[in-house]
């Protein structure tokens, strides 16, 4: 039981590292693109939000596994 809890904790920490890194990189690239081409800001923002939501979706899948482990 304790090992399952430990696994859930470590797992969620890893998820946050991965998801945070992904979204951070995405936002940096989007900002750079907006800086280079300010007139395309609207389209870039929309694409960025969709991509961020997809990254978030993947990390939520992993989070579900952590929830299951934590509930053991």
């Amino acid at each position: 039981m304790e090992l399952a809890h430990l696994a859930a904790g470590i797992g969620s920490a890893l998820i946050i590292i991965g998801g945070g890194f992904g979204i951070g990189k995405l936002a940096a690239a989007a900002m750079e693109a907006t800086g280079r081409q300010p007139e395309a800001a609207g389209g870039i923002r929309t694409t960025m939000i969709i991509a961020a939501a997809l990254i978030e979706g993947i990390s939520l899948f992993a989070l579900v596994i952590c929830f299951i482990l934590a509930g053991k």
């Binding site: 939000i49 997809l54 978030e56 939520l60």
Partner: protein, 282 residues
């Protein structure tokens, strides 16, 4: 001056782990999860009736009450707006605010993401957007419950999006053409078995991610607020109260942003999925 719920919190925190069923974070889940009562804690609790029909438990719970409240509020405000626009085209202060949101969903979400023939899907997107927005904001009102932090509610919304997506795709491309169009053109034949499995899985992971995203975002924010408030009881001192209340307030502000953002993202992704199903050629 301990009320019932603060005593329960203090009890569950001081009791050592493993003794009894209660653990340190039980009271948080108690607040997040569905229950058979409305909690107006310092004043009292209103217990709701339990109804069972043919072995199914269809009792009216806290989340059902706030689900209905959101629906009634939504119907009242939007019907009022619609009536006003039937009479005159000049918006007043209130209908103007609703109109801005409706045009936002129509022009910024539906039109660019779906493309041609987007008008058919605007009513569904508007319904989803306004319902999620109202449910999220209702959850931020003190003494209320967040409907969207119940996985059943978000799953129902995701199933609605899934149905609309499939219906739209099949109507435009035909049933056979729709399933054929799921697989990209010009891939080698030996990849086909893998691609078919992947694409069919992809059909179901999209609504699953939609449901999980809304659920996790709304639940996580409330858990963080409760955990920050709970610090006062864990440390058992009033000195930590200004810090934890201040931080809870900051998270609450973030929650207002998240409430709007999640309504936007759910609608946006629904529109993108519908657009992908309707226009399969790109």
């Amino acid at each position: 001056m301990y009320t019932d719920s603060t005593k329960a919190i203090a009890d569950s925190l001081t009791r050592p782990h493993g003794q009894g069923a209660s653990q340190g974070s039980d009271w948080i889940l108690h607040h997040i999860m569905d229950g058979n009562y409305l909690d107006f804690s310092p004043i009292g609790k209103i217990y709701l009736p339990e109804i069972e029909v043919m072995g199914f438990n269809i009792s009216i719970t806290r989340h059902v009450v706030f689900l209905w409240l959101a629906a009634i509020l939504l119907a009242f405000l939007l019907i009022k707006t619609a009536r006003r626009y039937k009479k005159t085209n000049i918006p007043n202060r209130f209908t103007g605010a609703i109109e801005v949101l409706i045009y936002f969903v129509k022009d910024e979400i539906a039109k660019p993401s779906i493309g041609g023939g987007y008008e058919k899907f605007v009513p569904y997107l508007l319904t989803a957007f306004f319902f999620i927005l109202f449910a999220n904001f209702l959850g931020l009102v003190p003494f209320s419950a967040t409907v969207t932090s119940n996985i059943s509610v978000t799953a129902t919304l995701a199933i609605a999006t899934f149905s609309v997506t499939q219906w739209g795709g099949m109507r435009k491309n035909g049933v056979f053409g729709y399933f054929k169009g799921l697989i990209p053109h010009g891939i080698p034949v030996f990849l086909l078995p893998i691609m078919i499995v992947v694409e069919i899985l992809g059909l179901f992971t999209k609504p699953f991610a939609l449901a999980m995203r809304l659920f996790a975002n709304m639940t996580a924010g409330h858990i963080v607020i409760y955990a920050l408030i709970g610090l006062i009881f864990t440390m058992n001192t009033i000195a930590v109260a200004p810090v934890s209340v201040g931080m809870a307030l900051a998270i609450y502000m973030l929650e207002i942003l998240v409430a709007m953002l999640q309504a936007y993202i759910f609608t946006m992704l629904s529109a993108v999925f519908i657009g992908m199903a309707v226009h399969q050629d790109h």
